[in-house]
Symmetry: D3
Subunit: 334 residues, 6 copies
């Protein structure tokens, strides 16, 4: 297909590639005799959404040069992600083990990410000018700088190339206490902010890591002004006693702040829902949709993702738009 002048270039996603191993059904870790296997990662989730939702995307990471590395690449590639820039080498693929929760018992995650190939990045692994050739967007999350100096160095190289090339940059704060302390995270995030255009996080993130102490709507506006952000997107989740989630978002795009309704959700798998939301924001911005449309699409994608096992938001644009416009997907479609 010839690429039209108006079609945005690829969304480049940089972050750790992970194998995800789930216990079956509602079994706890000590009960599991088998694990469902998939390959994920917050940034890979965004890359898959972009590819599914009629954009294009490249995933940039590093996986071992053995068959499980191949399997990871294949897994991303099946959904149309461009995987030519996946570096190979290092000792191991990071793993995260998941046990699903229900009712009063939530899901549990055991990270097994030490000594991963991604942590052993070197300058030889990536040629950022080549990787960002023609790209319209660059996305990363807070777990990337969290895993160490080697990744931070590469990330900074990528961000500088983005600035040189005019590539929009989005950053999903996603603080993980298992990976570093609040203080470490604050120091890790600081040098990145000058390159960031679009921020996904929460009011608590703004206060904790970025010194934005105002509250409510003002918090988002202050955050945007302080760091020159074009988008500040917050999502919010409460979990009821019986396991239903109440999920909503407020998104500041330019001067306009959009508040979504609260959706009550009977969750199949919440992992990756934030990434679906992020991908929806990116898509709306790339396609120059209105703040209202962008937010509604991002929210619809995130809400529907809760019903899908695995990290990926395996939904079509038509399905998401139908729901975003108030249509029910809950009937049999035949």
């Amino acid at each position: 297909m010839p690429v039209s002048a108006e079609v945005p270039g690829p969304v480049v996603c940089f972050g750790e590639a992970l194998m995800r191993l789930d216990t079956p059904g509602f079994e706890r870790f000590v009960q599991a005799n088998s694990f469902q296997a998939s390959f994920t990662g917050g940034e890979a989730n965004v890359a898959v959404s972009a590819a599914l939702w009629e954009l294009s995307s490249r995933m940039v990471s590093k996986v071992p040069a053995h068959d499980l590395g191949d399997a990871c690449i294949n897994y991303y590639r099946q959904y149309g992600v461009d995987t030519r820039y996946m570096a190979r080498g290092g000792d191991r693929l990071g793993i995260f083990f998941v046990e699903n929760g229900k009712s009063q018992r939530g899901p549990r995650v055991i990270y097994d990410r030490v000594a991963s190939s991604f942590r052993s990045l070197t300058a030889d692994d990536f040629d950022w000018n080549q990787i960002l050739e023609g790209a319209s967007w660059f996305h990363f999350s807070g777990t990337a700088p969290a895993v160490g100096q080697a990744v931070q160095t590469q990330l900074l190289a990528a961000l500088k190339t983005c600035r040189d090339r005019g590539v929009v940059v989005s950053f999903d704060v996603g603080y993980r206490s298992a990976l570093w302390t609040v203080e470490e995270a604050r120091r890790g995030y600081a040098p990145l902010m000058e390159y960031v255009d679009v921020l996904i996080g929460s009011e608590q993130d703004a206060t904790t890591f970025f010194g934005i102490t105002s509250t409510g709507e003002q918090n988002q506006r202050d955050f945007a002004r302080e760091f020159g952000l074009q988008v500040v997107a917050y999502s919010d989740r409460e979990v009821s006693q019986t396991g239903l989630h109440r999920y909503s978002a407020k998104v500041l795009i330019g001067e306009e702040l959009v508040q979504t309704p609260v959706y009550e959700i009977d969750v199949v798998d919440r992992i990756g829902t934030g990434d679906a939301f992020t991908a929806g924001i990116i898509r709306g911005q790339l396609l120059k949709h209105s703040p209202q449309e962008t937010t509604a699409f991002a929210m619809a994608a995130a809400v529907l993702k809760h019903s899908i096992p695995g990290d990926f938001a395996l939904l079509s644009v038509a399905e998401i738009e139908h729901f975003a416009q108030g249509g029910s997907l809950a009937k049999v479609r035949r």
Copy 2:
């Protein structure tokens, strides 16, 4: 067992036999590496219910003369349906692929029914006088005439034989837009109505296809009068945002109109619930139960069916009656 004079003759069901292939758990089509297999069809569902609920039944359809055709027949036969009148031949068994939904995402169905053996019916496939020998009831649904002329011809032959033999006829409108247009359906249904005694549908069906424009209770009464129907049974379903279904029915039997309570249901599998309802109506009429009893039984069967995977209402009369009479099935029975 000797057949007593008061035991009703078999319920003869005519319609397409289908293989149903389900993705596992809540997986979407693009995730599935395997499919659960079963053999279904709206009319087969009614035949199975009749056999399970202490009536007898015959399934009349056509399946290929290979092992999957055998498997289909075996599948019906295990529950006691008389399958001697299943014709064999033609190219293929129709398939419908199902992905289960949850919360805001509903189930999806992909029909793969073109060129099926059922669509290639010929006059040689069935001897209606033999098939209806001793029968008390004949049931078909709107998907039968929808699949083409060959089926319509056979259906009409069956209906005429029913009239000659005094066999009661039920018709479940079940319009499927994937199979034909509203206009085609209107023309397809018209010649059948003179043979129909019991109609299962909705107020919308009455208006759209049969020109009954009154509303509320009057709609059912007008429908019955216009077409000389002894029963007009409507069920109604609303789906809440979190995937709970609100299900109820209103049934006109003779002059009496029974309105059920609204049941709120956490659905396992909604496919086949309408057929369970239909089978309950047929059973009540055949056993000369009161309109109230008939409706309560049909509703109980349909409500409980929602908890059972697959199309069939695998429930005993005792279970259904216990629930119909207000008993809770939700405790452990041990």
Copy 3:
């Protein structure tokens, strides 16, 4: 590890060992082509909880001298239960078949326990002085005397040894109408009561089997006084139409009566939840926790157990205490 003077001795549990065979997902018995297998029994459930929750425990029962008997012992032993006192011999392992319910349809159990090894106990099977050596607690339930004279005889021998040795005795009434009549149960329970210190049951049990006719709080107090009980613990369950359970307890410990909140639960598997509650009471008493703490822990364990497939309350003390203290487990923990 050297055993400190303050660590309680083992909880000795006596009852039938059973194989549990579950249909997959929500399949009914007539649909099942396979069964999930585990090894359970109300008293074994208590023994496993005790071992998991930082006490120690011994399971005392009898299983056949073949591989399925081995498998049963292995299954208990994996969680740290001391299985050295499992007698071997007899004809068969009792089985209970389970089909899971959903929404308006509850779970169903088929007992297949006749002629089991447990029913063929002889005086040679157990040396109670050896078994109770160093023990702090003895637990049994009402299903033990229900299965016949041989078990009653052994149980009485055990109870007498407990009295001689000062071992605390708990009794979970757990009447099963499939095993004996109310009148038989009344006669079976009577001779045991003089040995019982801690009773788990319901107001209805108190009235039906033990002649305690007062109601409300007074019922528990009268029960305790009449039989010299240090604890009378009642739990209560209501099942809503859509399958949510409302679960609560009131526990009399000494003079203090603690009433828990009502928890609304979206159930994965309710079997074994009462045993989790019982184990929580035992643990609190053994560790000399306050009535309030004991009850909160027992309730938290029981509530969380509802989310775990199988009979066992596979939860850590930390998880239970976190929930008991009002913490939410429903978020992702990573």
Copy 4:
């Protein structure tokens, strides 16, 4: 279908109905977390073969009046066996647990058959005149008399009715040391032999139980003469070190003794292969095939059965005849 005068009447099979529970793959009993479930029994296996191979058959047994009894009946019925004469009642369905072997390790079976419904037969359970109405053949095996007096009584009643009605009787010796001693079996078989026309067994059976001490071909001829048998069919199996089976048969029909080649077989499931052989003999006799044809068909059925999981010889007449006539089934058929 109208029954032509030349079509043989049903084959009536009498014996214990069993649930079979298999560990997955090559797992040992102590490894199994699930079991594959099916419903079998040596005589049921013959009934299913008869129904599949264009004869008709009735299975006569007794199963509990609960859902697992229903499931058993459904399981037989799916393949076209007439199950109207399955009595209902008693305590439990007998079970046999199977672990599959490989190479030097053979399959293991644990019988769990005590106290089964079949062992509790009463005169009220069967009306043999009704059951044998129109029947051409009656089949039983040595495990039926082995399980006790109640069954022996019913068996004798059936055999007498067969003699009165001229129904041919086949008996598969199938001695099981787990069920009774050699001496008990000898006494149990003796009174039955006057009714038997067709015997399936081995030279060792002839010597051990029936006092036929000659060897080789003479053994079969002496056996036939002594007991007035029209067929004496022996099959033989040797197991090589690597798990390949060498399987052959010699069959005396009238005066003609047919010796098959030895087939070397890489076994999937050997249970039920002897029953497939028996059903082949019955079929040949009923259809008046030559001794050569009969034996070749029986042998082909038995050989091919080894490749099919479960007890049933799920093969078509066309497949068996193709192989019996020397055709290879080992190519892809498409």
Copy 5:
């Protein structure tokens, strides 16, 4: 990666895309309650091998514009096949059902390919100049022309474009009697031969369809001369009674005829082994390997494929070369 001048251009494969549904383990069709799902097709198999073995490839076919069509494309794409030229539309995806064989019972296939999207090709579906842009090779098999005129027309258009562009053409005869008669095939193959450079088939194919009546080595040489073929590759398979396969090949490349050893194989899945062989021949020719090397690689790939479930030869070049050079893969590699 920049494409070096010496790297061959893509292998373009044209043929029907199929869903493959396998019964589990060794179950027969009538036993299956589920099917393993994959997406295959002889030409797709070649495309996957090319992509895996360090060439590049394009798959050209047509699949429906629904989720199963997406799933098919994803399935090919995961292994690196370029799927941009997969046309979308038509009614259905062809299916082939497979039951695995063992020992004396071979695999069975049921084709369910009528009315497939591939059969409804139109001139609008493909722009052959674009598709073949930069391509080095074009591959098709005899099942493509077998499914009808629409495909034949497109195939001829492709072949003409190949001649214009100098793209090498390979043709795997693969006659399927289920799709057309010998006479139809003969007429169907004839007009294609002038475009073919590399033929994969058998001596029987040469005689039956192409009038080459010589035998042995001469047959291949005559075939090559008659049709101007650069390669004539025959493989041969015999199946022993116990299910072991004896597999070998003789390949004429230019003037050199290479005969492989006979490999005795304990088969897991033989479907797709011929395609692995074909892909090996294509690879050798594209990389200008010697006839000896080419044949050894193709044979090694085909032999090893027999051990892999599914159609695809999921093997690395290193694994195949190691085996081709006489190394054993049968030890644990760790």
Copy 6:
């Protein structure tokens, strides 16, 4: 049970605990959507055999203080291994991924063992005097010193304690090239040999690592003399083209050298077979069996282990002895 003076004390096994993740059936790594999970390790395999074969055993290792560490301990404990000396802590459990082979394609293993808890042993983790209290035997393999200095230090501490306490020491050379070079291994093994009494390896090991250059029988005798070994046990495996293994052993015990027959084996899972052999040697020595008996038992255990999925030799003494004495296990046992 009181421990009699003649019952040997526990076999203490020291080595890495590993999670084993297997692809299903014969799937390759790139095909796997799930993994079977178990917990293994060469020394754990020996510990489990000892516990199963009527000895007692302790497993000494280190696993993380999270649920997967619990699951590992539970897994060992279920078979009766004493797990009280499993240290807790460190970052992760080592994993090894397995894909099963067939015919010409062998199994593949991917080690994922870097940064494991076992590699981070400290002096605080073990009190060897306590651990070896009452022990009769200590076993380790060459993979223990291979994983680094921390383990070597602990191993040496254990070996010294063994010498002080008179505990017999066995060493299974088990060189793994993935973990260290030949030269590193040579240096790693050297300081351990003075403590070793029983060596399991091969002639090649003797030559490569220990400078024993003689061949045949003399090699074992020289090896024993050089290092003062009471047992030198070699096993040998050849893999045929079709995947059958030819397995045999020669064992020098004292002055007597026993050569076993060669067993031809159709392998289900070869991992752990060497450990079964080792455990058999240990058992024979501990129970003071003759060299002939000891070797026959060890060989029988190893041969039969090939038929069992997973690492553990889940066999009873009776089964092994029956086979060791020439009995066939390949018949159905019922």
